[in-house]
Symmetry: C2
Subunit: 443 residues, 2 copies
C-alpha cells in the first residue's frame, strides 16, 4: 500500500460525490424531521463488553489502542460502534431521565466494521436510523408508521423504486411452534441463510439441528409465501389450517402482518409485500421485520432493514421499532451506475472578477453585498486577463462572472453559458432559482 | 466503569445539546458555502506512517485492531485521524488530477485524540476546517481572506465576541535570524510554550538551547508586541532598527502582517490584533499564523487556529492557507455557560390528536397534508383523553395540537400556550414563522 492508495473498504468521494452524499443525508433529515423525529448523535466508541455480544457483527469490531500507550494502558477497552442500534440502546438507558417517551429519534453517523476486504463491502459507512421507543409499552401501529416514514424517505432519494418486504416474528413463531419446532430462534437463524445458500442447504442444516422432516418442509413451505392484502392472508390461513390451526393468536398475527403491508401500500402504492422468508438473524426482533430491495439492484442486498424489538434495551422496559438505511452503499451505486448528475461541485454561483490588485477591495465589496442576500460568491484569486478569469469559473461549473466597472462601481454580470452580459446591482441581482445552488438531478 | 457511565473525553449531548451542535454546524456550512468553499469528507483512518510524524498529536493516535483478527492480521496499520489537516493534505495529493486549483474546501468531521483524560479535554470532537490550496503558487491576499471568512463564521455563532491574534512566521524568522538565532524552528517551539510556562521558564529553555543572552531578550521582547495598524508597524520597525535593521524583506513582512490585521478589522471591526507571541508549534507554517480567543473565556485556549503553509503537502507544490474551529469545545461551553436557549428539541410543531383508534387514518391524513407543505407533524401515539394528548405535546415543547372533527374532517387547531383554538384547513394552515422550526436563541 503506497501512502496515497485508497484503503480498501474506506470509500472517499470526489467533491461531486460528496455533494450527492450530502443531498441524500439532507433529504433523509428533512423527511425524518417532517415526521417529528429528534436527532441525536452518539460517541463513536462503546465499551467492548457492550459491543461484543454473540452477533456476527461482533467479530468485526475495531478495538482502539493508544499508539504510545503507557504500560498499564494497552487496550483502551473501547471499540468503534458497528451499527447505531447498540449505541442508541445504551443512550436510551443513560438518558432515560431526560427524554420523553415514546421517544422518536433519528441518527445519521458513520459506523465501522473490520470485515475482510471484498468488492462492495465497506468497512466505514454511513447509516441513517430511525426508532420509536416506548416506556413499558408501544402500540403496534408504530410498526407500520416507521416503515411508512422510510418508504417516504426512500421515495425522495434519486434511486430506483424500492420494495419493503415484511415478515412477522409472531406469525413465524406461531407456525414454527405449531410445527413442533422447539428452538424457534435457532431455526430462524438457519432460515436467514436462504438467500445465500439456497433451500437444499437450509434443509440440511435444519435436519442437522434436529428439526423433524415434516417440520422442515413446513418451514421451507412457509418461506415461499409472499403477497399482499387478502391473498396473502388467505394463503397463510390455509397453511395454518393444514397443520391443525390457526389458533386465535396466529389468526391475529396474520391479520397484523397484512395490515402493516396494506398500510405501507396505502402510503406509497406498490411499495410493500409480505415475504415469509425474511428472517433477519438478529435475536432481538419480536414483531414485524423489514428488508428493502432496490428494483434492478437486488445484488446490493437489503438497503433498509429493521423491525420491532421488545427487550433490546436492558430489562425489557423499552419496546421499540427501528429501521436503518445503509447510505454509503446507495451513494456508491448511484455514482457507479450514473443515476444522478451534480450540476456543479462549487457552491459559488458567481465569480467576481478583479480588474487589478488595487481594485480587489471593490470586488470583495461586491461579493459581500451578494452574500448578504444569500448568493454564494467567490472573488477571482488573481487579476489575470478576463479570459483567464472566465476560464476559472468555467472549470468549476460556476455560471456567472461579475465584472466590476473600472471605477469600482457595480459593473456588469455575464452568464458565461449564453454570453449574455448586463449591468447589475449587487443589492438587487439574483441568479435564476435553478442556478442559485448546486443541484442533484436524476438522470 | 459501569456499562452506562459516560466515557471521559467522549462527550454526548441531550437532544437539545445536539440541536445546538447542529445549529453551529449548519451555520458554519452556510458561511463557508456563501464564500464558495466546497465540502469534502475524508475517511476516519489514515495509514499510521502518515499520521505518526513528530508532532505532539502523534502521541495521541488511536490505532485500530480487529477484535478477532487472524494471526497474520493483528494491527491494521491504520489509525484514527487526529485532525483534518493531515487527511486533507493526502486527499489533495490523491485527488489532484480531479480537482481545480486553487481548491477552496471545507470539512466538518469528528477527530480523535487519545489524550489522558482531564477536565475540558476531549478525545472525540468535531472540527470545522477551511483551506485554500494552490498549485505551485498562492497569492498572499488569501491569508487575510481565510481569516475573514472565519471571523464572519464565528460572528454568526451564538458565542461571545472573538479576537483573532495574528503573527507572521516571516517577521519572526527575519527577527530571529537578525538576532543570530541559528535554529529558528527550535526557538519557535520553545516560545510556543509562553502561555503555559511563562517568560522565565522560556528564557531558561532558550538559554539551554544555546541561544545567546542578547538574542533571548530580543526574542522575549518581540513576543510582547501586540497592536494594530500604524502603531504595531512602527513598534516593529523600531525594534528592528535597534538591532541594525530592518532589511527590505523584514520591512515587507511587517507591512504584510499589518495589512492582514487591518483587512480583518475592516471586515469585522475590532476582531483582530497582531500578536508577536503567537508561535503555533507546528513546523509547517511559513506565513501568517492565527489563534482566536473568546472574550471572557480565554481559558478555553484558541478556538480557531491555522496559518499559511508552503510545504505541508508532499513536494511543496501545493501552498495553502487553512484555519480550523474546535466545535465541540464551543458547544460544551455554550451549554455549561447557558449562552443559548433551544426552543424545543422536537422538530414537530403540531401533534395531531387521535379521536379513537378507528380514526387514526383520518389523523394520519391530516398529518400528511401538513407535511406536504413543510410543516413537521407527529400523530398522537394513542387515543387517550385529549388532556393526555395535550400533555404529550406540552412535555415536548410542541406548541400546537390539531383536533380532527369527530366525522374525520379537518377540525380545529389549538395553540396550547394561549389556549386559542380555531377551525383550520391542513392544506392552508401555517404556524407563525417563529414556531415553524425549533430555534437556537442567544440568551
Amino acid at each position: 500500500m503506497s501512502r496515497l492508495d485508497p484503503i480498501s473498504g474506506f470509500p472517499e468521494w470526489t467533491p461531486e460525490g460528496r455533494a450527492l452524499e450530502r443531498h441524500v443525508v439532507d433529504s433523509l433529515r428533512d423527511t425524518f424531521e417532517l415526521h417529528g423525529f429528534i436527532e441525536i448523535e452518539t460517541r463513536a466508541v462503546e465499551p467492548l463488553e457492550r459491543l461484543a455480544g454473540d452477533s456476527d457483527a461482533a467479530k468485526e469490531i475495531y478495538v482502539l489502542r493508544r499508539l504510545r500507550a503507557d504500560a498499564d494502558d494497552g487496550d483502551s477497552g473501547l471499540g468503534l460502534h458497528f451499527d447505531l442500534t447498540v449505541p442508541f440502546a445504551r443512550y436510551v438507558e443513560e438518558f432515560s431521565g431526560r427524554i420523553a417517551f415514546p421517544f422518536r429519534r433519528y441518527q445519521i453517523q458513520k459506523v465501522w466494521r473490520g470485515e475482510r476486504p471484498q468488492e462492495g463491502r465497506f468497512r466505514e459507512f454511513y447509516q441513517a436510523d430511525i426508532d420509536v421507543v416506548g416506556r413499558e409499552s408501544l402500540p403496534s401501529h408504530v410498526e407500520a408508521e416507521v416503515a411508512i416514514v422510510m418508504v417516504h424517505a426512500l421515495a425522495r432519494l434519486p434511486i430506483p423504486p424500492v420494495t419493503i418486504r415484511v415478515n412477522s416474528r409472531a406469525v413465524v413463531g406461531e407456525f414454527y411452534r405449531a410445527l413442533g419446532v422447539v428452538d424457534v430462534t435457532a431455526a430462524l437463524r438457519i432460515v436467514d441463510k436462504l438467500p445465500k445458500i439456497g433451500a437444499p442447504a437450509v434443509r440440511e442444516l435444519l435436519v442437522d439441528a434436529g428439526v423433524s422432516g415434516d417440520a422442515v418442509e413446513g418451514i421451507l413451505g412457509l418461506a415461499t409465501v409472499t403477497g399482499t392484502g387478502e391473498a396473502v392472508e388467505e394463503a397463510l390461513v390455509a397453511r395454518a389450517t393444514a397443520i391443525g390451526g390457526p389458533s386465535e393468536s396466529l389468526r391475529e398475527a396474520i391479520a397484523g402482518l397484512r395490515s402493516v403491508v396494506d398500510a405501507i401500500n396505502t402510503a406509497v402504492p406498490g411499495a410493500s409485500v409480505a415475504d415469509l422468508s425474511i428472517a433477519r438473524g438478529l435475536d432481538y426482533y419480536t414483531g414485524c421485520v423489514f428488508e428493502t430491495f432496490l428494483e434492478g439492484h437486488e445484488d446490493l442486498g437489503s438497503i433498509c432493514s429493521g423491525g420491532r424489538y421488545d427487550s433490546l434495551i436492558a430489562g425489557g422496559g423499552f419496546p421499540g421499532v427501528g429501521m436503518s438505511i445503509g447510505i454509503s452503499r446507495l451513494v456508491s451505486r448511484a455514482l457507479s451506475a450514473g443515476w444522478v448528475n451534480v450540476t456543479r461541485a462549487s457552491p459559488s454561483v458567481v465569480v467576481v472578477a478583479v480588474n487589478d490588485e488595487d481594485g480587489r477591495r471593490a470586488s470583495d465589496s461586491i461579493a459581500e453585498r451578494l452574500r448578504a442576500r444569500g448568493v454564494a460568491v467567490e472573488v477571482s484569486p488573481n487579476a489575470a486577463k478576463f479570459g483567464k478569469q472566465i476560464q476559472y469559473a468555467e472549470r468549476r461549473g460556476i455560471p456567472f462572472v461579475w465584472f466590476p466597472a473600472a471605477d469600482g462601481t457595480d459593473g456588469e454580470v455575464k452568464d458565461i453559458r449564453s454570453g449574455d452580459q448586463n449591468p447589475a446591482n449587487p443589492d438587487e441581482w439574483m441568479p435564476p432559482p435553478a442556478d442559485l445552488k448546486p443541484r442533484v438531478e436524476r438522470r
